[in-house]
Amino acid sequence: MILETGMVEESACKWIKRLFLRIFPNRKGTAMQFGWTGKILRIDLTDRKISLDTTLKYAREFIGGRGIAAKILYDECGPEIKPMDPGNLLIFSTAPLSGTSVPGGGRVAITCKSPLTIPEGLKCETGVGGFWGPELKYAGYDHLIISGRSSHPVYIAIDNDDVEIRDAKKFWGKDAYEAAQLIKEDFEIDSRVMTIGQAGEKLVRFASILGGEQYSASGRGGAGAVMGSKNLKGIAVRGTGEVKVAYPKKLLEITEKWHELIKNMPSYPNIKKQGEFRENLTDALDFCTIGNYETVEYPPLRNMKPDDFTEKYQVKMIGCIACPRPCFNFMSVPGSPLGGLACSSIVTMATQVWNNDIHTLWEASTLCNTYCMDVIETAGCIAFLMELYRRGVISAEDTDGIHFERGNKEAIIDAVHRIARRESYGDILADGIPRAAERIGRGATESAVHTKGLFPHGYVFQAFKGHSLLQGVGHKGGDPFPIAPSLRLELTYDNPLVNPIARKIGKEKYGIEDALEPSQYSETKVIAVIDSEHAERGPDLLGTCTRQVPRFIPESLALEAFNAITGMELKEEELVRVEEKLVHLERCFDVREGIRRENDTLPRRFFTQKVDSGKYKGAVINEEKFERMKDFYYQKRGWEIKTGIPTRKTLERMGLDGIADEFDGLGIY
């Protein structure tokens, strides 16, 4: 009997609580006890000060994740601070969806000033997946902000409320995988550890941060070098708390719906079995460039047999927390460290370096992961060297007797080692392609392909005008990725299966049937680019993954999940407004660092060098038309057409008045 009454009481209590919450929904929003943990952890490594801050003052304006991080970086990291200075901040951010049952909640946004970009110090925006972010949230923090510089190598150990800065001398010099294991043993076996490898220690400008698992690394922008400059080897987190959810039942339903949508994807069975390995090494070749953007067709690449390789070595497919779509091929290949790869890291070490041997590809890419540096940038460096060698600018004497012929396997592996350790010629390349080109001289700058200092993704930009605009005006240098489905369709427009969908979307969304036809410089393309820029920021703000939202999952469902978790009632148009505001804030940060219209451009060869073969033979970007597209883009954004600076009126409309005043003071207007 006691049992029964107890049960009744409990359910009645719950019911009353729910009723109370329904009647006062706003109360939940203000209390912010759901979704957010409400705390920001600040660690100053110089004077070893650990302090707490509140998320509340930022969350209303910028929701979470990348948005709040951008705001903090803008406020506290002025143009006088150089990327490698102690004053640079390294911000790890989670958002309301992190650490819940929503797939993609494992993403962590990492924000700092980038040492790689040109001009130096633009905002670096990168991220990792896995399990570290949720762990940080369970430990009770939304964001972790690291500033200062330690006098000796240290690692940070976070065990819920106990935060310690510990000595890491014995881990310095170890690779990222090994260091993570050693730190785990030193601190707490169940913790999640982010580490940097030797590349970060040596301040290789495109070093990355390993996200706690043996597959997910932060990739682009050089956050690892910033972490290395702070003498910080790793961050171990152990959290036993929880992320409170306002409407658990509703969230459970949304999670079920989300899983259903992913499982209904036509490519899902294949992704589950083989991941993107095969897709990247076969289908992607149709719209990828080869080498240093030299050509588009290289027949030997078509002989690769990714299926055999995965069948032989694959342990399993692996992914991030609570996600049914495993993105990473986790393989045990003899001679390479046990680990996983996904996406661009698979394809670049084949296409960019003229390499059709999967073993070399795997070894080079996993080596990049253990040294912890960006695979795309490393491949770009090798491609750059190969072109210089071919042009006769450098010879084997300049590279320690190694011949940088196209696809030379020995050269590829050697270059990875040397760059990461900054040895001989690797020391020059470790500063990024444009800086290396200047140091080499002898006309090497002609071969330096970069946008704002970063090697672009490997698309045939000459053929895809929308993509080229996105790349040109994009925030992260060579990194912007087409996220909105509309813009993505430009890539596969000629595919007979995709064409009808692309035409339909063109008609419905932009009113013109062939709006997404690759060769068009139309205004609808500009709008598609703007859509894509917004679509990229949505998942980052909410705390889910751009690989799912909005490609397979509508943004509205992610928003529904956000509302169910936080108990708020955020509408779609409100989210878009925040996304737009974030675009402007990020632009303003870059403008303050010196970005103007002339920086929003593409490598020279996209304007001069015609595509020499394949489907898009003869395609080239007409500079005049490209500039006109840029005009329209600035106009649409409300930026000054002449300079590319957001106007005062636009900033006021966005609610960023403070920035306009600051620009006045700095003499930017």
């Binding site: 049992l3 399990f131 658990p248 927390i321 609570a322 996600c323 986790f330 046990l338």
Partner: protein, 161 residues
């Protein structure tokens, strides 16, 4: 109602911890690994992981050691359940369990364990890798036999060529 059992296939687990998330969401007001009834243990090198959860033993040690007699069997689902109100939080059952399946809830201050969600386990519904299955008890034996036979045929076909 036919008796159903939870079966775990260790070969398939990808270690995504979806089960932990949905379990804690179903039983509490939040997502948390410490408050989940199922815990995924991943090996150091990350190539192996496995969800650990209550096996609802026929002769449960947790019941035998419980000083408060808080564990009982639900007769409709055949699940062993800990009565939250009777539990002292002494953690004896965690030590006694051969799998270490029960865990201690740091918020409610009681020991928690899988209750099969009243016969419709949420973790099984959402497990993306089909590691967790909820099948009829009388089918388990035959299922295992069939899987064993498949492996045998595979080996034979490899041997024959």
């Amino acid at each position: 109602m036919t008796e159903k059992m939870l079966v775990i296939d260790p070969d398939k687990c990808i270690g995504c911890r979806t089960c932990e998330m949905v379990c804690s969401l179903k039983h509490t007001d939040g997502c948390s690994e410490t408050r989940s009834r199922v815990r995924v243990i991943t090996q150091k090198t990350q190539d192996n992981s496995l969800p650990i959860m209550c096996q609802h033993c026929e002769k449960p040690l947790c019941q035998e050691v419980c000083p408060a007699k808080a564990t009982y069997r639900d007769l409709t689902t055949h699940a062993m359940i800990i009565d939250k109100d009777k539990c002292l939080g002494c953690k004896m059952c965690i030590i006694a369990c051969p799998f270490g399946a029960p865990s201690f809830d740091p918020v409610d201050r009681v020991t928690i364990k899988c209750d099969l969600c009243e016969g419709d386990p949420e973790c099984v519904k959402l497990c993306p890798s089909e590691t967790l299955k909820f099948v009829r008890a009388d089918k388990i034996g035959i299922m295992e036999k069939r899987m064993g036979l498949e492996k045998l045929f595979k080996t034979i076909s490899v041997l024959i060529g």
